[in-house]
Amino acid sequence: MKHRDRVLMALAREVPDRCPMQISFTPEFADRVRADLVARGMPENPAAALNVDGSRAGEHNPHGGGNTYELERALDEDLILTSVGWANEYYREGDQYVDEWGVLWRSQPYETRFGAGRYTEMVGHPLADDAAIASYVPPDPYRESLYADAARVIRDFRDEYFVVGVTVTTIWETAWALRGYTQLLIDMVTDEELTDAILEIPFQYHMAAAERLARMGVDMLWTGDDIGSQRGMLFAPTTWRHFYKPRMAELIARVKAINPALKVAYHTDGDVREVLPELAEIGIDVLNPVQPACMDPAWLKREYGDRFLFWGSMDEQHTLPFGTPQDVRDEVRLRLDTIGRGGGLILGPTHHVQLDTPLENFWAMVETIRETPCR
């Protein structure tokens, strides 16, 4: 069965041979998996360690911009991601860098028992000062160069794989990177006009990018913002309804007008049960990543299985980093029996696989997904 057909079946709520699978990785974990694959007999391909544009030597982009996808394909994943937008600014090289939006990033090293890595954290915000907002000029979403990678992916991979156009960090994430996290949370409840002015910036950019990706022929558009926390919405549903719902509704309407068959996925971490009915109302098809410590996947299937398709659900706060391989296998099977019953699921971890995940656990997940028939 073609990888893309497996995904199409699952999204049509039919039962494919096995559950479609999608996994992304931090650059360090990508290196570790690649080395392990080579040790297991995958031919070593130095060119594959470089990204296609050559300029980001060896750095894997977890959101899928500029990758060779050698790893994803070697693992038998079914979806290929290609991203346009602010999310591509994560994991750039250097101890410190300013991205094209003016956000200052700093490299933050960490250690695990499997080696050292780095996260990139936003430490400087170009719109921290109110006075900077009116005169701010965002990057141009219409540059042809932004879409070269998507064109390549569609040309080379869409025949076999399900292609996802990625415009995550659609509004809130980029907006707080521009303004400052705490400040924008306060702005949302104290200054409506200023908040609107800031939110429009990433919204217009990512909507333009989304429309272009839809016209180019991606199978699914992946949007989203982290609006949930570990134990509830980050901000009030009324706040979300006022600032984010109409914008997302407009974006979704526009891309579906371009391609009515396009699926739209929404990424949000955390517990967002309070706005699930409205996410369905505005046309979100696929809920991602289904963080299981916050929203029970089995409950979601029971309550929303007719309204949403699901993507994700493998726990990365406990099972993958700290569980046993058997825990991982059991969790895959539990998901297949519940949120994946009768199709409707793309299975995978709820975030990029982190370096603190033991390889045994990673392979337990991949092998169990690949070997277990769906029903």
Partner: protein
């Protein structure tokens, strides 16, 4: 006479201008600062309760905490002059390797709101720094926050360092998205809180505060 009920309401509403104005009135009138402080902590107690049952969310907590902070600044000189100090001091920080601070900041705001003195060490804090600060400030509470599975494992070292430093009866409270009660028990922490509001309860219980 300054309207303390209105002060409580102002802080609950996140109305910093009104909170500051009423506090100033109270100070000018020579009102007992303990009564004024009481009106403020009462507001934050309501805020904490509302947050715990999802009646309000992080933005509302932030503006209430801000209102209390600015009102407290007006009251501070009077409290200092009268020798009124919080009974307990807490040292607070995000663990080494971790730059995330919103959760930690909210805990700090809620602890201050409960009249606990808070020494906020910021983010990326080493075990040594936690110990040093606890010693320097005579802290009875150490609060550690982590957002990442990769950094939370370091909390174990902080607990060990604090016990090894023999600082007296210091209680360690831990929290953060990936942290659980089980993990807190495993590393020998004295308390665990799943959010900033329950962190007040956790601290009070740990040190036997009313």
């Amino acid at each position: 006479m300054a309207d303390l009920a209105a002060l409580t309401a102002a802080i609950e509403a996140g109305d910093r201008a009104t909170a500051v104005r009423i506090t100033r009135e109270a100070v000018d009138e020579g009102m007992d600062p303990r009564a004024v402080l009481g009106a403020m902590t009462a507001a934050m107690e309501v805020i904490g309760a509302k947050f715990q049952c999802n009646e309000i969310y992080v933005p509302e907590m932030l503006i209430s905490a801000r209102a209390m902070k600015e009102a407290t600044a007006v009251l501070e000189p009077v409290l200092v002059k009268a020798g009124i100090r919080p009974e307990h001091t807490a040292v607070l920080g995000t663990i080494k390797g971790d730059l995330h601070d919103i959760g930690k900041n909210l805990v700090g705001m809620m602890w201050k709101g409960a009249n606990i003195e808070v020494i906020d060490l910021g983010t990326n804090v080493t075990a040594e720094k936690f110990v040093e600060a606890a010693k320097e400030h005579g802290a009875t509470i150490v609060g550690i926050s982590a957002l990442l599975t990769t950094t939370m494992v370091g909390m174990k070292d902080v607990v060990a360092a604090i016990r090894a430093a023999n600082l007296g009866d210091v209680k360690v409270i831990v929290g953060g998205a990936p942290v659980t009660q089980d993990f807190a028990d495993l590393i020998g922490a004295d308390g665990y809180a799943s959010d900033a509001a329950s962190a007040v309860e956790a601290a009070k219980t740990a040190v036997g505060m009313a």
